[in-house]
């Protein structure tokens, strides 16, 4: 059974701009990989190779990055914040 992957839809979900050339190249490659991946029966799923649950550490204040350090790598810091293009559309 051939695997059908809607590249446009998936790229939109991943917020990933793809060129026409990339779409043409990735489509068939991804189908081959997905074909190879379609196998298996019913068993319990493993999400973590060494089972651990409810890992806590003491809830104590500790030194952390300063605001300046946290912003040092930001592409567009502004008055102590991360500035981004408009999120809410104008009326």
């Amino acid at each position: 059974m051939a695997v059908d992957i809607d590249l446009e839809h998936v790229a939109r979900l991943a917020r990933l701009a793809l060129t026409e050339e990339e779409k043409a190249r990735f489509g068939p490659q991804l189908e081959v990989i997905l074909e190879h991946a379609r196998t298996v029966g019913e068993v319990a799923a493993t999400s973590h190779p060494v089972p651990r649950a409810n890992v806590y550490r003491p809830d104590e204040p500790r030194p952390c990055l300063t605001q300046e350090e946290a912003l040092a790598n930001a592409p567009d810091p502004f008055e102590g914040r991360f500035r981004v293009p408009r999120i809410v559309e104008e009326e």
Binding site: A14, R15, A17, L30, H36, A37, P49, V50, R52
Partner: protein
């Protein structure tokens, strides 16, 4: 020193002894590594950044402390390279990607914090596949690394720069990360020792994430003894990594000499007849098994019936987790931002389109698809079930065997460019290493000979969860029996 080779070509434990005797200084050891980098890195390209200034300051500090009579740990004064996936405070870190450019971490990863506190000396940050996705180092945004044994061939990946640097004495030791074989496979292709310990044994705090349920920190060295020393220095619980195991660490050098008499070594016979396994790999592996038998070990056949599906499961789980982990590269908090976008969504989308390379895009798409509504159960859910089956297979096999042996990779180093357009062929490079990542069990690769082309072959040993001591003891005995002493012609000519 026992001979007049440059210091950085010597084993770390010999350097440590010479340092304490006062026969050599940490500064002299570092300078020998920096000289080697000058000589060969123009053709090998193992490093993205050489940190000579930081290294010199660290080496000088070690020398001062030794002169003052301080008792320093075994890693003090040893030049170590870090894969550029480890965050280093104040030192640019790229993960082999353009999307992080420019990124200067404001903190140190735990493995390096521990090493530097113990007096280790940083040589630099090594080249790797972008976000550790690859088996050849060709997916680095900064160009490929060349295998020191044959410059036209790949060093393996994704930790190719770390493996190549150790192979040619550009560092004595190095750290890498292993998600599907990214320490053991390049170790095999470059003829050095690569260890991936139990999942959670070494903290990943500050290791840039690829696939969180599979990512392991691993080590590169030129001997098993040095591997044990390096592991002892960085293993152990870290409250900053919730997946870090609470079990106490230990001195992994203890018991290394105990031998393998009576040890049961499991061999997966199906793997030896697997299509695509080169005769040269099979022969060197068989010679390794014969060596273990001479030492008193018993070879027993074991089965891992679901290992055939492990590769498929891996290539769903790893991309799925990567698609989630890499969502953070959105042009907001660090790294690249494509300017001139009208909305934040457009800015995110264009930034990611411009910043990620081919393989990363392929895996983000694959992972997003595998996690998307309507496909989750069929792909990600199924893959997690395969993972359970692989773990059960190992549990069964370890009832009959104390360790399991296999080739590390089905082939020796392949040519640069040979597999770039065939992702599935590239993925098959990891067919023998992926099962140990899925199961989280410790596994090591040591060199066991050369093929007809003169390229090194890796011998892999896998053990039970947290049974690093048996894996290391077996590898140490095999290493001594095989006495593999070849070095790449690039650095051995004239010596």
């Amino acid at each position: 020193m026992a001979d007049d080779r440059p210091f950085s070509d010597h084993p770390g434990h010999e350097l440590a002894e010479a340092l304490r005797r006062g026969d050599v200084t940490a500064t002299e050891i570092l300078e020998s590594a920096l000289r080697r980098i000058d000589e060969v890195d123009g053709s090998v390209r193992a490093y993205l950044r050489v940190t000579a200034d930081q290294g010199r300051a660290q080496a000088a500090a070690v020398d001062r402390r030794l002169r003052a009579g301080d008792d320093l740990p075994g890693v003090a004064g040893i030049p170590i390279a870090l894969k550029d996936l480890f965050c280093t405070k104040g030192i640019t870190t790229t993960a082999g990607s353009k999307i992080l450019e420019p990124y200067v971490p404001p903190y140190d990863c735990t493995p390096w914090a521990r090493l530097s506190a113990a007096g280790a000396v940083l040589t630099g940050k090594t080249n790797c596949d972008e976000f550790a996705m690859g088996s050849s180092n060709e997916n680095s945004a900064y160009g490929p690394v060349h295998n020191p044994w044959r410059l036209s061939a790949v060093p393996g990946g994704s930790s190719g720069g770390s493996a190549a640097a150790v192979a040619c004495g550009e560092a004595v030791w190095a750290l890498g990360s292993d998600t599907g074989g990214s320490v053991r496979q390049p170790a095999a292709l470059c003829g050095v020792v690569g260890l991936k310990p139990t999942y959670g044994r070494i903290s990943r705090y500050g290791l840039i994430a690829f696939a969180s349920s599979l990512d392991h920190v691993g080590t590169f060295a030129r001997s098993v003894r040095d591997t044990a020393t390096l592991l002892s220095a960085i293993a152990g619980h870290d409250p900053m990594d919730a997946t870090s195991l609470p079990d106490p660490s230990r001195d992994y050098r203890v018991g290394l000499e105990a031998g393998v008499d009576g040890l049961r070594v499991g061999v997966v016979e199906d793997w030896l007849s697997m299509e695509g396994t080169e005769p040269g790999v099979r022969d060197a592996f068989q010679a390794g098994l014969a060596a273990l038998e001479r030492l008193g070990a018993t070879i027993v056949p074991v089965k891992l019936p679901h290992a055939d599906y492990a590769l498929s499961a891996y290539y769903l789980i790893a991309p799925a987790e990567a698609s989630s982990n890499l969502a953070r590269y959105d042009g907001v908090r660090y790294g690249l931002r494509e300017a001139g976008s009208g909305s934040v969504t457009e800015m995110n989308t264009r930034t990611r389109g411009a910043g990620f390379g081919d393989e990363v895009k392929r895996r983000i798409i694959l992972g997003t698809y595998a996690l998307s509504a309507g496909y989750y159960d069929a792909y990600y859910g199924q893959a997690q079930k395969v993972r359970t089956l692989v773990i059960r297979d190992f549990e069964q096999a370890f009832m009959e065997a104390d360790v399991i042996a296999a080739p590390t990779s089905p082939t020796t180093a392949f040519e640069i460019g040979e597999r770039v357009d065939d992702p599935l062929a590239m993925y098959l490079s990891d067919v023998f290493t992926i099962p140990a990542d899925l199961a989280g069990i410790p596994a090591i690769s040591i060199p066991c000979g050369l093929d007809a082309k003169g390229l090194p072959v890796g011998f892999q040993l896998m053990g039970k969860l947290l049974d690093e001591p048996t894996v290391l003891r077996t590898a140490h005995a095999l290493e001594a029996e095989l006495a593999f002493a070849d070095r790449p012609a690039l650095v051995s000519s004239g010596s």
